[in-house]
């Protein structure tokens, strides 16, 4: 499989150097982007489109903590198995149920303040989880243990998306 980190000349790490990633991405785009080839022949335009698509996809997945972690795990042969592995620690599930209930109540009551509070609390949880992931992946290199954390992080991302949806609904 393609290694997204190598494409940008970076070490594969969950704690990715964002500034280096951004810089590398822009340098590559400056050379392969279709805008550079608008007046070129078909062959160059096609090659440019393919490369840019690949670079954009790699960049997007490295920018997303869930996708970045999944990618590192996949490089080590560990499948996060979002769809098949839904077994989660009971404490985590219980907490998720509570958060979802709070979200439903806030949406029903059109309570923007509660939504704001909910969003902040999830942002904090996410930060803690990302720190744990960095520890498991970069320091311990325990990819199996990391897989469970990635699934938890995925849960939080979904919830964040639902909160955004709730804001839209209220407005």
């Amino acid at each position: 499989m393609q290694n997204h980190f190598e494409l940008f000349g970076l070490q594969a790490a969950f704690s990715v150097d964002e500034a280096a990633l951004d810089q590398s991405y822009r340098e590559i785009q400056a050379r392969v982007h279709p805008d550079r080839f608008a007046h070129a022949g078909d062959a160059e335009r096609r090659a440019s489109l393919q490369w840019t698509t690949r670079v954009n996809e790699a960049y997007r997945s490295l920018k997303s903590p869930v996708q970045r972690a999944s990618h590192i795990l996949a490089l080590h042969g560990v499948d996060v198995a979002f769809e098949t592995n839904t077994a989660m620690p009971a404490a985590f599930l219980g907490q998720q149920l509570e958060l979802r209930e709070a979200l439903e109540n806030a949406t029903r009551a059109k309570d923007v303040k509660s939504l704001d509070a909910l969003q902040k609390s999830i942002a904090r949880d996410r930060q803690t989880l990302e720190q744990k992931l960095a520890q498991r992946i970069d320091a311990d290199k325990d990819y199996q243990a990391a897989a469970g954390l990635v699934r938890e992080l995925q849960f939080l991302e979904k919830l964040e998306a639902e909160i955004d949806g709730a804001y839209e609904l209220i407005e």
Partner: protein, 620 residues
């Protein structure tokens, strides 16, 4: 009147190296064409010195077409044949159009894109738009003294695939080489950012005649990165006219109006709206065809009250874009106002209040999009040396999805993904010997297919017959830099290329476009052959130049055989270019394109290697 440009000795602009490229703002109300001259973007006016071209097309019975001011002058006398705000109909069906009952047209509701019955025949919005583009192309070619090498046409950022495709088709029919479809707020950001050397997070609030866009951009030296975009492709200054129109009808207790009176009152409503930008009240008076006099006075307070919901409606997309960008209102360091409708004081106030800062208005909101498009066209034409140009990273405004079981949508490319973007999916057959599959691609954010916009249905044929579940069909969705989707499919166990037939839900089939191209030539007094030859020559010359400069830079990457193939292909093309057979030129172009394929890929790999040179390659 265009002035002759005389350059200083030794500062010759080397005309053979500068390609003639323009930026076109194809607006709902007005359109403009601009170019970069002596390093500065400038709008090209018509022979009377007027920069704007009203986006109005009138079809006369004798095959003649009037565009712009001439058509505008007759809109109240001949409303059925005078098409205004055609942009609202691009890639749309009749049921998609608000106030269709208030529009004085004779709609033909065919499946897919609506059409208009006029004295000049049944016309698609694409053809109507092509008339506007043709007029602008002629204006530019006259002013610049040559055939255009390419054009950038702007579209609302929130335009979906069908609306974008319709715009690009209109460009083709108008005889333009469309270098790129550029999002209007992004074009404005280019003009604005380069003018002010701005850095940081900016919002572009673009309320045009018929569309509303809100884009959030990150500007840093040499990079314009769109982080989120949102909007409403059915909301614009026209809707404010409608509100005033309805208010007048209600106040004056008017009976249902004839198309002529309707247009007359709409024109008066627009005038009143514009007057109210700097005055406290406006009078709306008109003599209707029934002999009835309308005489109403609209004050600012009433105008604000009857349009309040419209102003409010723009703030929803603003909030959404800020959320999508993962930002807070305070992070936005500047708000650029674009589009004539942003002149309305209530809009300025609402935006200032929302962002808690005064919006920026220092560039003409009518011209800024065309100027930015001209700057981008200049870069795309290769007229700017590398290092002095910039990188533009734009996004897809609406998610793309495919229909799955039960009428649900599975997202394949989410909104605000940087383009070009792609995604591949694998499917399998569910019956023994199955040789075909069908797909339905939609655009939108909702979970149900019925709540999204249908883009196209794909029929896949030619899958080798196998047992159920044995075939592996890989479908690749590709969104290019214009934001346009294309689909390819391949059966991966045998490698057989499955053929994909696309039935665009709102677009035009290739055959329609060819017919329109022929029609457009037979009406214009242009010779089909000379045009085809001129286009083939521009194309051939471009490829030859591109090949030469690629060889000059990277000949070392080529094996002797590849080099020989490219050299002989170039020689063939040069020979064809000396002749007058456009088909021979096209064949030679295709052959050279094939010969340069491997070279192009190697050059791209090399480009990436160079970009990363000096960096440590990460090891695992």
């Amino acid at each position: 009147m265009a002035l002759l440009q005389i350059s200083e000795p030794g500062m010759s602009p080397a005309p053979h190296e500068q390609r003639l490229a323009v930026g076109i703002d194809l607006g709902t109300t007005n359109s403009l064409v601009a170019t970069v001259r002596s390093g500065a973007a400038t709008v090209l006016p018509d022979a009377q010195g007027r920069p704007l071209l009203p986006s109005i097309v009138r079809y006369l019975g004798n095959g003649k077409v009037e565009v712009g001011y001439a058509a505008q002058a007759r809109q109240a006398d001949d409303p059925k044949n005078t098409i205004v705000s055609v942009k609202r109909f691009m890639g749309r069906g009749v049921k998609d159009v608000d106030h269709a009952q208030n529009a004085p047209y004779d709609f033909v509701d065919a499946p897919g894109m609506l059409q208009l019955r006029t004295a000049g025949g049944v016309k698609s919005p694409v053809e109507v738009s092509a008339e506007i583009l043709k007029m602008l192309r002629q204006r530019a070619e006259l002013a610049m003294g040559g055939t255009l090498s390419g054009a950038v046409i702007t579209v609302p950022a929130y335009f979906d695939d069908a609306q974008r495709q319709a715009t690009k088709d209109a460009g083709r029919i108008a005889g333009l080489n469309v270098l790129r479809l550029l999002n209007e707020p992004t074009a404005a950001a280019i003009a604005y950012g380069l003018d002010n050397a701005s850095e940081g997070i900016f919002a572009v609030y673009d309320l045009g005649g018929g569309t509303f866009d809100l884009s959030i951009l990150k500007l840093s030296r040499g990079v314009f990165e769109v982080v989120a975009t949102s909007g409403d492709s059915m909301l614009g200054g026209d809707d404010f006219d409608q509100r005033v129109f309805c208010w007048v009808v209600e106040q004056a207790k008017l009976a249902p109006l004839s198309p002529r009176d309707m247009r007359l009152l709409l024109v008066r409503a627009r005038e009143a709206k514009e007057y109210l930008t700097v005055h406290g009240e406006a009078s709306i008076s008109a003599k209707l065809s029934t002999g009835e006099f309308v005489d109403q006075t609209l004050d600012t307070e009433t105008f604000c009250r009857i349009t309040q919901t419209l102003v409010h409606k723009t703030l929803g997309p603003v909030r959404k874009a800020i959320r999508d960008a993962g930002l807070e209102v305070n992070d936005v360091e500047g708000v650029v106002m674009v589009g004539g409708a942003t002149r309305m004081p209530q809009i300025q106030r609402a935006v200032a209040e929302f962002f808690r800062r005064d919006p920026l208005n220092n560039l003409d909101p009518d011209k800024v999009v065309a100027l930015g498009a001209a700057m981008q066209a200049n870069v795309l034409a290769g007229n700017k040396p590398q290092g002095e140009d910039w990188l533009l990273l734009d996004v897809i405004p609406l998610s793309l999805g495919v229909e799955t079981m039960g009428g649900l949508v599975e997202k394949i490319i989410p909104r605000n993904t940087t383009i070009p973007a792609g995604r591949a999916q694998e499917f399998t057959t569910f019956k023994d010997g199955q040789t075909g599959m069908s797909f339905h691609v939609v655009q939108g954010e909702r979970e149900l297919v019925s709540d999204c916009r249908s883009l196209a249905r794909f029929e896949l044929k030619g899958i080798p017959p196998m047992a159920a579940g044995a075939a592996r069909v890989r479908v690749t969705y590709q969104v290019d830099a214009d934001g346009l989707l294309s689909v390819t499919a391949r059966e991966s166990t045998t490698g057989a290329e499955a053929s994909v037939t696309v039935k665009p839900s709102y677009g035009l089939a290739d055959a329609d476009i060819e017919r329109m191209l022929r029609d457009s030539f037979s009406h214009a007094r242009e010779d089909v052959h000379s045009r085809a030859l001129a286009e083939a020559r521009v194309d051939g010359q471009r490829l030859l130049e591109a090949t030469r400069s690629a060889l000059a830079a990277d000949a070392a990457l080529l094996s002797p055989e590849d080099r020989a193939a490219i050299d002989s292909g170039s020689a063939m093309l040069e020979k064809a270019l000396a002749g007058a057979d456009h088909r021979a030129i096209k064949q030679a172009v295709d052959a050279l394109n094939r010969a340069t394929g491997p070279f192009a890929e190697r050059r791209m790999d090399e480009g990436i290697r160079r970009a990363l040179a000096g960096k440590k390659i990460g090891s695992l």
